[in-house]
């Protein structure tokens, strides 16, 4: 079966291949697999925590051409978007853009799952940070409230 030109283009010159520091609190990592074929994909986003805008995105995909093209496309798409906008991404948009045949749909699903799980990871990290910060802020905030009584 012939790949569409767009798939070939992304496959031969994939954009955003690489890794971001997964310990960075502003980086969300999504690691997903397709049990249908046994392929795996890692997609990472770096998000500005003030604006929630995706500033960078990288991926590493061990899979077929369609999976590589899907992750290349998704990383391009999400850059500059807010995480809420990125969350709304559907695999059908990938299928349409890359003209994927039905047997290759699971490959685009992989990319959709990967971006969603990267966003979920980022949100979880931010919440943990906030919980920590408010814990610390709570103990320091106790002091000023005592002060007026002096």
């Amino acid at each position: 079966m012939a790949y569409s030109d767009k798939v070939i283009e992304h496959y031969e010159h994939p954009l955003n291949v690489g890794t971001l520091d997964k310990e960075d609190p502003t980086v969300g990592t999504g690691l997903v697999g397709a049990p249908a074929c046994g392929d795996v994909m890692r997609l990472q986003i770096k998000v500005n925590p003030e604006t929630n805008v995706v500033e960078d995105a990288k991926f590493k995909t061990f899979g077929c051409g369609s999976a590589i093209a899907s992750s290349s496309l998704v990383t391009e798409w999400v850059k500059g978007k807010t995480i809420d906008e990125a969350m709304a991404l559907k695999n059908s948009q990938i299928v349409e853009e890359l003209n994927l045949p039905p047997v290759k749909i699971h490959c685009s699903v992989l990319a959709e799952d990967a971006i969603k799980s990267a966003i979920a990871d980022f949100r979880k990290k931010q919440e943990e940070r906030k919980a920590q910060a408010s814990g610390v802020a709570g103990s320091t905030a106790a002091q000023p409230s005592v002060q007026p009584q002096k």
Binding site: L31, G33, P35, C37, G38, V40, F62, V109
Partner: protein, 178 residues
């Protein structure tokens, strides 16, 4: 279609490959078009359909993963066809690391490393496979979905390892060709 029934075999994971092979050959011979040249067209068509079905069943049962999926399907687990399923993060991490290591070894053209990785994954696969042999043997005929899903997860694991080993074969073929 139940491939075990098609070949007249008792459904089980730990199938005797010799028995499968001889069952298949027998049926293939019996269904051969040459043996049915005198039969009416409708019957010849039926024989042909049956032969196609037998081939299909044989291909399914010969393969560990497909055979396991067929068994799960017989037990009523429709998920066997690879629907969306949340994989165990540890497994994904393990597979990702293995694939990265393999990718690097490929770039370095380090065939010794490729072989070492293949041996490691092959051992992992053998472990999962013997676990499945035991688990399927212990599975009651009327197993509940909750009893099937851990087996389905192990079948997925097998799939990831198989994919890795296919990649190894592709690398080795490429190395031989160059």
């Amino acid at each position: 279609m139940d491939p075990f029934a098609t070949l007249g075999l008792v459904p089980r994971f730990d199938l005797d490959q010799g028995e499968l092979e001889s069952r298949y050959r027998e049926l293939q011979k019996a269904l051969h078009p040459d043996k049915h040249t005198g039969a009416p067209a409708s019957q010849r068509r039926m024989t042909l359909n049956k032969a196609v079905e037998v081939n299909e069943a044989y291909r399914t049962l010969r393969d560990d993963i497909k055979r396991a999926q067929a068994l799960l399907a017989l037990h009523g687990n429709a998920q066997a066809s690879g629907e969306r399923e949340v994989a165990d993060p540890e497994l994904l991490m393990e597979v990702m690391e293995l694939r990265e290591a393999l990718g690097e070894a490929k770039v370095r053209r380090d065939l010794t490393e490729v072989k070492a990785l293949a041996a490691r994954v092959d051992a992992l696969r053998a472990g999962v496979r013997s676990g499945l042999v035991a688990a399927f043997a212990a599975l009651p005929a009327s197993a509940a979905a909750a009893q099937l899903s851990p087996l389905a997860a192990q079948v997925s694991r097998l799939k990831y390892y198989q994919r890795f080993l296919d990649e190894v074969s592709a690398i080795e073929d490429e190395a031989e060709a160059s």
